[in-house]
Symmetry: C2
Subunit: 504 residues, 2 copies
């Protein structure tokens, strides 16, 4: 049966609620997301005590969350509190207060567990082998060293964007000396971690500060797609951004393009932590993940029902399958088209001249080519393209996702209208378009051979002789509809690959 | 439980299968659609007998359909045969043959029943009061006179695009004398129907000929949206198209923009029937429906479980509600936002200066503003716009559907990116954009007041005093989140309407 899981994450700066639905076929998706700025740690830097005001603000927000959980009939609530409550002398009192007034079983988690959830969220949604992860919150920063997708070192730094701001950067405009003091403070802390030095790895960040850095960089570059997850940029760009921010007043920052005004006061401390991490570890570039602790908590829960490891072996295939299940696609048809297309890819590789990566992209496009039916059967190829473009597919760069969208959209043949689409053109160059056309050709042939969706063409044996590409159909039926549908692409085949297509 | 219904429609020219799914919450949608050209009536004009070849072609195609029904686990098959079988001397033999080889319980329906199904399909998907409907098939043409949405006259003309072609237009290029003979033949037949003369009503067509006429006209006009249903055009344009077609050879027609090559041979006979109907009835314009017999059959089945009439009272609201259910939207939230927005529309009408029609559009946008969550929670307003733009919403013109899409997409405030979208700009003029902004403003305010989705702001009492627009909130809670979210639009309110918004 359908199960609804709520995840509540009460940080030092904000409180967040997400609700995930797990459908009976195993597909899952995010159905609700709410963020409220609570500033729970406000005023506790000196005393180490959560103030009465802050506690009541948090209880008020959690009441609203509890109400929502009831309303959408949540089956399970997983609620955690991080640094602020962890470090507060009156943390236990606060937990009681929350339970009494909201019924939410809030659990304080250690810095290590927080890091682990963040790691789980990232490793299953971004395709990385080795990297340095950071989860920069209001009151702590969790860092994790990842090698071969395994977490090998974990550390929780006891400061984040909020408490570091209170300590060093609460002025309207930070002074040069305060900035130096803050940097020294951070560097001294990080010096205790010798394994951090000169790693030479990508720096992958989650949390509000990381997301806002990505958004600001996107604004500066006029990035054509509003997506933060798996956004990558260079250190020069980040350095420039950081320098500029340190010279602004609070009023200027409130209007800074891409920066949320609620974060204007704490962004300098936040970016300075990132800057220090990048410097010390000699990061190669910065990547931002939209998935962190909350997604990690959900995935630990979800995966625990199916496997013992929290690592999904192939995140691209997993998320593709999840999309196919979610949109209730015809799985046997999708699998069969993917298989036929893949065989053609393999056997015609000498004339296709594509890469192994392209083969993965073809598989994703083939599995998802029909999901647009959920929007409207008519013109569904175009809708499949839109869904792929905007889907929560993991393990693809933004550019690859656009390319897969185009291929899925062309599963009946290439249509000029996609070429005119501004977004696609901003991501795809001449070579990418050529790749898309070749992959779409294979997909269209496979789709033609599955025109009746009955699996009548059991398999194909593609080969090459002289300037002819032969496609032998393995079938025990007449398959006239399938043959005709595939033959319709012979002209395109000739144009694209320069070979005569013979269907036997 | 989920129910799957297959509808099979075996005409003189083509065989069609659609599969509709009815979900447990009552939502329904089209999940599969297949069309095969069978030409069942081929060669029977002189003998009145279905040929052996034609019968076996049909049986082969129906076998494929039966296979598919099994594969997708169809619960019910509704299968009808029309003119070709109806008129054939060996029709009964054919029905047996089909049953024996495919198991499909094919039922021959009368011209009147065929007309009724077509009427049901049109009247529930196009917003018309009075019109002349025609369903132009391969072997017959059903016409229905509609007054106040009721079918008041029905007639089945015993010829359609295929048999009329065999009689008059089987040459490569039709001669002037043959064209005249064909027109006289049609007109003589229609002369028997005195009620047809000088009706002065819109002519609404379904069937392949009608759809192809729409597509050809769209190509000529470079129409920016690939949608045929509810497409409207003038008689001058149709007349021009018809004249041009009568002067072409078959080879030219096979490449004619917008015309399906399979229909190139029979399009002249088809369009000439339409031309005669338009002339005699003095039609005001032509409209095309993408929904006809098959949708009518489905709706009769679907509606019979809920009501005695086959007429849906409000097709716009019905299809909107169907979308909301299909995308599993949060209904209480959607209804509450729609209610709040509607109250503001009503009470602020003196400063909004919008029409009653705009009020309906606001309601649709409000009900559907969140459906984009199904694609991706992040950026879901943009996805809602895409879904509305492409949804099977009935009772809206294409322009209105684009306008509703923009309003739904702006439910958190106006974003410039929609303005840049080529399709929207082709449909919406300055005035439409202004309307969209005003409606979006009301929607955004209502959405703000429902920020926690808890219905805490039970109602609003909008009023106007001097240059201030007052919005009194009826609530028994503090609603600080809601108040803040709505207040964020005060600047926009002032800019759009010139009034100061005061939330009390």
């Amino acid at each position: 049966m359908t199960e609804r899981v709520a995840i509540i994450d009460l940080g030092s700066n904000s409180a967040r609620l997400i609700v995930m639905t797990i459908y009976h076929n195993g597909a899952y998706n995010l159905v609700y997301n709410q963020k409220e700025t609570v500033r729970l740690s406000e005023g506790m830097t000196e005393t180490g005590i959560l103030t009465r005001d802050a506690m009541w603000r948090a209880v008020g927000t959690l009441k609203v969350f509890a109400h929502m959980c009831e309303l959408v009939k949540v089956d399970k609530i997983l609620a955690v509190a991080t640094a602020a409550v962890r470090n507060a002398k009156n943390g236990a009192e606060f937990i009681d207060l929350v339970h009494q007034h909201t019924g939410i079983p809030l659990k304080v988690i250690s810095g290590e567990n927080e890091a682990r959830f963040g790691y789980t969220g990232i490793i299953n949604t971004i395709d990385i082998e080795d990297a340095l992860l950071f989860d920069l919150g209001g009151g702590s920063t969790e860092i994790t060293l990842v090698k071969n997708r395994q977490s090998v070192k974990v550390f929780s730094i006891p400061f984040g964007a909020v408490n570091l701001t209170e300590k060093f950067a609460s002025q309207d405009k930070i002074s040069e000396s305060q900035l130096t003091a803050m940097r020294e403070y951070i560097v001294n802390h990080l010096a205790k971690l010798p394994w951090l030095k000169r790693l030479g790895l990508p720096l992958v960040g989650v949390g509000g500060t990381a997301r806002n850095i990505a958004k600001m960089d996107q604004k500066r570059k006029n990035y054509p797609f509003p997506k933060v997850h798996n956004y990558r940029f260079g250190l020069m760009a980040f350095e420039e951004l950081w320098r500029e921010l340190t010279k602004t007043s609070l009023t200027q920052r409130r209007k800074y393009p891409g920066l949320s005004s609620e974060r204007a006061d704490i962004i300098i401390a936040g970016t300075t932590i990132v800057k220090s991490l990048a410097d010390i570890s000699q990061a190669t570039n910065i990547m931002v993940s939209g998935c962190g602790v909350r997604e990690g908590m959900f995935l630990e829960y979800y995966l625990s029902k199916q496997q013992s490891s929290v690592i999904i072996p192939d995140i691209l295939l997993h998320s593709t399958r999840n999309m196919l299940l979610f949109y209730k696609g015809n799985e046997p048809h999708a699998d069969h088209v993917a298989k036929l297309a893949d065989t053609m890819f393999e056997k015609w590789q000498p004339i296709l001249r594509l890469t192994g990566r392209d083969r993965h992209l073809l598989r994703v496009a083939a599995l998802l080519h029909d999901i647009g039916i959920t929007i409207n059967y008519y013109d569904h190829a175009r809708h499949s393209a839109y869904l792929v473009e905007n889907a929560r597919l993991f393990g693809l760069t933004h550019r690859e996702q656009m390319l897969v969208a185009v291929v899925a959209g062309w599963h009946n043949g290439p249509a000029a209208k996609y070429v005119r689409n501004k977004i696609y053109n901003e991501f795809l160059d001449q070579h990418n378009w050529q790749t898309a056309r070749k992959l779409a050709l294979l997909l269209a042939l496979a789709e033609g051979l599955e025109a009746t969706q009955l699996g009548l063409v059991q398999d194909v044996e593609p080969s090459i002789t002289g300037n002819q590409a032969l496609l032998k159909l393995i079938t025990s039926d007449p398959v006239s509809i399938e043959r005709q549908a595939a033959s319709a692409h012979r002209k395109w085949f000739k144009k694209e690959l320069g070979f005569e297509l013979i269907i036997e």
